[in-house]
Each structure stands twice: as C-alpha cells, then as structure tokens.
Amino acid sequence: MKAKVHVTLKNGVLDPQGQAIESALDHLGFSGIIGSARVGKYIELDLIETNKDKAKAAVEQMCEKLLANTVVEKYSVELAD
C-alpha cells in the first residue's frame, strides 16, 4: 500500500513561486485560461502497514510532526494500492 501526501500552502499565505509560475504561463500564451497557480509538494510513501486505518493515522502523525509545517501548510493523505 502507498500513501500519497500532498502538502500545500494554506489559503491566504503568499506564494511568490506560484505567482512567478502564473506570470511565466501568461508569457507562454495561457493568459485567460489560468486564474492563479500555487506550488506544493507531493510525497509518496511505501507502507508496510496493511491496516488502512492504522496507516492513515500514522501518516497523518508524520504530517503533523515533520512532513508539513502547519504554521503555513496544510496536507492531505490518500491511500492507494
């Protein structure tokens, strides 16, 4: 089983990288298609644990303790086979 973890900036936190990407996409002719861009991280974990509930709880603990800085970031955890 795999855990797919997305870590993204909370709403309202300024994301200059996202703004730079947005502006570059504008230059490439995509203006009028995108509203805004936000940059985050994707972390994939291979799990040995086979109990889905236990795995999800553990990965959420990992997010709280290390994978995300909850001052400015939020996270989502998805389990997949």
Binding site: V13, L14, P16, Q17, K65, L66, L67, N69, V71, V72
Partner: protein, 230 residues
C-alpha cells in the same frame, strides 16, 4: 562561561561563529548534531547558519529533528540561552522553540547584502549591549528569511516585547523600502517569551571585526558574556 556550537551536516557558519565566540571569551566547543546530550554545565548553545541537510523538505526541518535538538529544547526549557543565526533561526522555528516560520523571500532571490536594523528591545542577555532604538549594520545571506506568523502570534510577540530586531532604514524608519525579504512587520529577530532563546536572520558573527567590514555584531557576544558568565 561555557558554550557550544551545534554542527549539523551542511552548517557552514559554525567555524566563523566559533572563532568570534572564542575571541569574545565565550569558551565554545563544537557539538555534533547526532550526539544525544549536550555537554554538562553549558551557559549558551548556538545554532549556526548554513544549509543543514541541504535544506531538504524545508529549511531547518530535518535539523530540528536531529537527536541533539531534544536536549537543546530541554536546555532552553530550563532557562538555558540558545542563539539561532540564519539557518539556526529556521531550526528554532521548526523545533517549536520560537513561533512562526521563515518562508521564501517575497522576490524569490537570494539576499546577500548589508542590512540596517533597529534594535527594538535590549532587555535580553543577547541585546543588553545595544541601546533601544539603536540602528546597527549586519549582513544577511538567505533565500528563506521572510518571517511569517499569523496575526494573533504577531500581536503576542509585540505585546511581550519579543520582537528584538527589525529591518530599518539608516535613519531607523521601519518601512517596505528597508525590508529585504517581505518579512511580516520587518521582523529580523525574535525571542521566546522568557527571552532566553533568540532567532535572527542577520549574521552578527560576520560583523565582529572592523577589518572585515564592521563590528556591530560584537556587542551581542559581549552582552552574552557579561550576562551569562557567573
């Protein structure tokens, strides 16, 4: 007086700060991040600048979970003095010893320049060598120096006098023009509530010798010696 400089893989200001601490009589020793405990009888622990663990995941994130940091947190909780410079400040925020976090500079560029700073509080062992409101020059070198905390935290910092250094103009005005990275309220350095932990983005150890461009960092180390040497 006994002090320690913690060395993480990727620290690169450890020798600079060690040299200055030695010259200022702080009697430093190096401690490796993988050690489980700090040496006995320390008065001061310094987390140096650099790029610990290559800034993997987030600046300071891995270093804050290094074995020695558990003992550094205990040391600080017991009232021991801890100074984090640049990457050290990021590590202090990641370890929870200081509130908020350091984000990417708002202009995305690496800052390597001289800044002018206004000393906002001189009631800690770190800053008693400065006058309140004094404008000093210290260099910065960072890509993630943009201090961020939510409005509630900023209010608490202000009310408790925990904001120690702000980016300012040469005349001491705190404004956007003087802000090199987009930091909330021009914050360059903060202490914890008990004022025994200081995190700062500017490098006092790089301005500790007039022959190397400035000596405005010296009072910080001299102040620590005066206050902590029993």
């Amino acid at each position: 007086m006994k002090s320690a400089v913690i060395v993480f893989p990727g620290s690169n200001c450890d020798r600079d700060v060690f040299t200055v601490m030695q010259a200022q009589g702080l009697n430093p020793q190096f401690v490796w991040h993988d050690d489980a405990t700090l040496p006995e009888g320390l008065d001061l622990v310094v987390l140096p600048g650099g790029f610990s663990f290559g800034d993997y995941l987030r600046c300071g994130a891995m270093a804050a979970r290094s074995p020695i940091m558990q003992d550094v947190v205990k040391f600080a909780d017991k009232g021991g003095h801890v100074l984090g410079i640049c990457n050290g400040f990021q590590i202090l925020c990641e370890s929870g010893l200081l509130p908020g976090t350091l984000m990417r500079n708002n202009h995305l560029k690496f800052n390597c320049k001289e800044t002018t700073l206004r000393v906002e509080a001189n009631d800690s062992a770190f800053t008693s060598g400065y006058k309140k409101g004094q404008v000093i020059n210290l260099p910065v070198a960072h890509a993630e120096g943009n201090y961020f905390a939510d409005a509630t935290t900023l209010k608490v910092l202000q009310e408790n006098g925990q904001i120690v250094l702000r980016y300012a103009t040469a005349e001491g005005a705190v404004n956007d023009e003087a802000n090199p990275n987009g930091a909330c309220e021009n914050i360059a350095g903060i202490t914890n509530k008990a004022k025994n932990v200081l995190g700062m983005m500017p490098h006092p150890e790089r301005h500790a010798d007039a022959a190397l461009g400035g000596a405005d960092g010296v009072p910080l180390f001299a102040s620590l010696l005066a206050k902590l040497a029993a």
